[in-house]
């Protein structure tokens, strides 16, 4: 496991991000610094704002206040939200993805009527330059790109262990398998940062163990920084380098897993919330 403290290089810096829906504030002044190479977990009770945070990072929502800075592969810092107060804009989701942030969804969002292979391939192809003319005439570069994305897709399906279901429809796969497929699809876009929204939800213990290994391999073998939303504390404790705790849209604690677990504020937040998750 990479030790982030060794090289404190921020990959993503979230400063004072506030997101409101009408009167409801789902994120308030959230600060978060993510170091290159770490596995960070975001935890918090239901409705704490975890998914909202992901949506702000990926351009689905535009936070009313705050800044989000991401260091792209070539080392240039990019602002993901910009503009004066009343006319703020997020980068479009596909632009964020190209900058190097990929995500999965809490409620799985695969292309249900396509095969597992096609699901991953679509993502693998998005960086290629094949245009409609090249595709229609099947020009040499289009064919080369096609071969490349096929190979990349097979590689990724192997990586997540789904080679044998490549030709099955995404919607016909078991829940846990769909989750892994969604991860493979996200990885196909070559991200520097992978956002996982409750990847263990609805999976069985065997699948959870596999997932744990998978997240580690994504981090070490592929060198991808991981931001993980998860309710399963066992998983969080075992894979996360550091944990950030959200409650009612605020960061209430941050630190190593075992520190956070003992933090009275965190314990209070979980016991105080209606739905307790150990």
């Amino acid at each position: 496991m990479a030790t982030p403290q060794a090289r404190e290089e921020a990959l993503l810096t979230v400063r004072k991000v506030t997101l409101r829906f009408g009167g409801l504030t789902s994120l308030s002044e959230v600060d978060l610094s993510l170091y290159r190479g770490e596995i960070r977990s975001v935890i918090g009770p239901n409705g704490a704002g975890k998914t909202s945070l992901f949506n702000c990072l990926t351009g689905v929502y535009t936070p009313q206040e705050g800044t989000i800075e991401f260091i792209t592969a070539d080392g240039t810092p990019t602002q993901l939200v910009s503009g004066p107060p009343r006319r703020r804009r997020s980068r479009k989701p596909h632009v964020v993805n190209r900058a190097g942030i990929a995500r999965t969804f809490q409620n799985i969002r695969l292309f249900a009527a396509l095969s597992a292979f096609e699901n991953v391939k679509i993502a693998a192809e998005t960086r290629q330059r094949t245009g409609p003319i090249g595709a229609m005439l099947r020009l040499p570069h289009a064919r080369a790109n096609e071969r490349r994305s096929d190979a990349r897709t097979r590689e990724l399906l192997d990586f997540v262990g789904l080679r044998q279901v490549a030709d099955e429809l995404a919607s016909s796969l078991p829940y846990g398998v769909q989750r892994r497929l969604e991860i493979a699809r996200a990885l196909a876009t070559d991200p520097a940062l992978l956002l996982l929204d409750e990847p263990a939800a609805g999976t069985n213990p065997t699948e959870k163990r596999q997932l744990e290994g998978l997240i580690r391999r994504i981090n070490t073998d592929l060198g991808v920084t991981v931001l993980l939303i998860e309710h399963d504390m066992k998983l969080v404790m075992s894979v996360a380098d550091r944990v950030t705790v959200l409650n009612f849209g605020r960061v209430i604690a941050e630190g190593r897993p075992e520190e956070v677990q003992r933090d009275p504020v965190v314990v209070e937040a979980y016991l105080g919330s209606t739905e307790e998750k150990p």
Partner: protein
């Protein structure tokens, strides 16, 4: 008491047996069909002529009887649970059928047979049917293949599609000096083809760029409005377009290079082969497009726009691309049409024609090249035959088109010969999984 409580106050508790309601429905449908199939038409001096003559004739009894018989059969079917029995028995056969017809090989086999038939059969037809083949079937099959890119593949609803057809046709009129406004140079129709493609491409981009960022259903109304504006322009800008009279004397196609000379004339067959050649090229290119990165991106957008964008698919760009490809195909057909017919006027491109072409695509099976070709061919050839035989009035065709659209959407929204992907999508959508069009939400919508 407020108005809101009224419905409660007048509601009666007694319920009628749904079977009788269904019988009533079938009888009404019988009477409606009796009226619809009448060959007369009302007049302002006698508004009730059709209703009176149709419902007063003995034909009505036949239609009502037919309605009652269908009802009785369906009730027996329902009571015995025959639906599940039959669908269980035929599941295997249907599965095989879908496998065969949905596959790539069948696809090419069909297209091959169709190509051979298209080359051979017209030789033996009468001049009337040859003309139907060119002026109706060929033109609209070409149009349908282009609209299929927009509706079938990208999942967008374009109701101004025929406006681009008009733009293509008027481009041909302009560059052949048939319009009041004269071009700096004169072009052969073959050279105009790429010009019209570019013109329509640009027009499509200009119209699509502001609207495609928004929820998909706005595109429908904006394109409808666009068609109306193009119409107004053609009618009112007399000194450019020739107004209601339009333009005459658009020359036929001709080849005059490398020592080859050929001149198309009023004869139908040469034009038929020209159209078929164009169609073959388009089908070949579009089929590759569907099974390429571009086609897969469209599918992704259709199924889940948010997920597609999150995985790096520039959704607006791909929608725009589909829209522009459709527009340029329409423009291309417009040049062919203008040159074939020789004259154009605004009445050749009414707004309802956009909807008509849409209905061909829907009827055949959106997303399936074979489907839309068959759909467009059937729905253009049959009405021409019916009209020739005086079975249906020409004015009534839009009515039947509308009826076909509604019935098709209710009972078989995937169309006659659906594409495999489309069938799956609609099936999954019915179970509440996934989506099947690009209009439910923008990527910045909900997640």
């Amino acid at each position: 008491m407020t108005v809101g409580e009224l419905p409660l106050a007048v509601r009666r508790p007694r319920r009628i047996d749904p079977r009788w309601l269904r019988l009533g429905g079938w009888l009404v449908l019988g009477a409606l069909l009796c009226v619809m199939t009448s060959t007369e038409e009302g007049t302002p001096s006698d508004h009730w002529l059709v209703v009176r003559t149709a419902l007063g004739s003995t034909k009505l009894i036949g239609w009502l009887l037919a309605g009652a018989i269908v009802w009785a059969l369906l009730e027996v079917w329902r009571a015995r649970g025959l639906g599940t029995v039959v669908s269980g028995r035929t599941a295997g056969v249907r599965g095989r059928w879908h496998e065969i017809t949905g596959g790539r090989r069948a696809h090419w086999l069909f297209l091959g047979i169709a190509a051979v038939a298209a080359i051979v059969i017209p030789q033996f037809l009468s001049e009337f049917y040859q003309r139907v083949l060119v002026d109706q079937v060929a033109v609209f099959v070409l149009l349908a293949v282009g609209l299929n890119v927009v509706v079938g593949w990208a999942g967008l609803l374009d109701l101004g599609y025929v406006a681009f057809f008009a733009i293509g046709a008027y481009t041909a009129g302009y560059f052949t000096r048939a319009l009041p406004v004269k071009p700096p140079f004169h072009l052969n129709p073959f050279v105009i083809l790429p010009v019209a493609v570019v013109v329509c491409l640009v027009a499509g981009l200009l119209l699509g760029a502001p609207t495609l960022r928004l929820r998909g259903d706005y595109l429908a109304i904006v394109t409808l409005g666009f068609h109306e504006i193009v119409q107004l322009f053609l009618v009112n800008k007399n000194n450019w377009t020739g107004g209601n009279q339009g333009a005459f004397g658009i020359p036929h196609f001709s080849i005059n290079i490398f020592g080859i000379h050929y001149q198309w004339t009023l004869a139908s067959l040469p034009y038929w082969y020209l159209f078929i050649a164009m169609l073959a090229v388009l089908v070949f290119l579009f089929d590759r497009l569907e099974h390429s990165k571009v086609g897969r991106s469209w599918t992704a957008i259709r199924e889940d726009e948010v997920a597609a964008a999150a995985n790096g698919v520039p959704t607006v760009k791909y929608k725009l691309m589909a829209f522009a490809i459709g527009a340029s195909t329409s423009g291309l057909s417009g040049v062919l049409y203008a040159s074939r017919i020789g004259y154009i006027n605004p009445a050749s491109f009414p707004v309802v024609l956009s909807i008509t072409v849409l209905s061909y695509v829907i009827f055949g099976g959106m997303g399936s090249l074979v489907g839309v070709i068959v759909g467009a061919a059937l729905l253009t050839f049959l009405p021409a035959v019916f009209q020739e035989q005086n079975i249906v009035r020409q004015e009534d065709i839009p009515m039947w088109i509308g009826a076909i659209l509604v019935v098709m959407m209710i009972f078989r929204s995937q169309g006659l010969i659906p594409s495999r992907r489309r069938r799956r999508e609609l099936g999954l959508a019915a179970q509440g999984v996934s989506d099947a069009d690009a209009m439910s939400e923008t990527p910045e919508g909900r997640a």
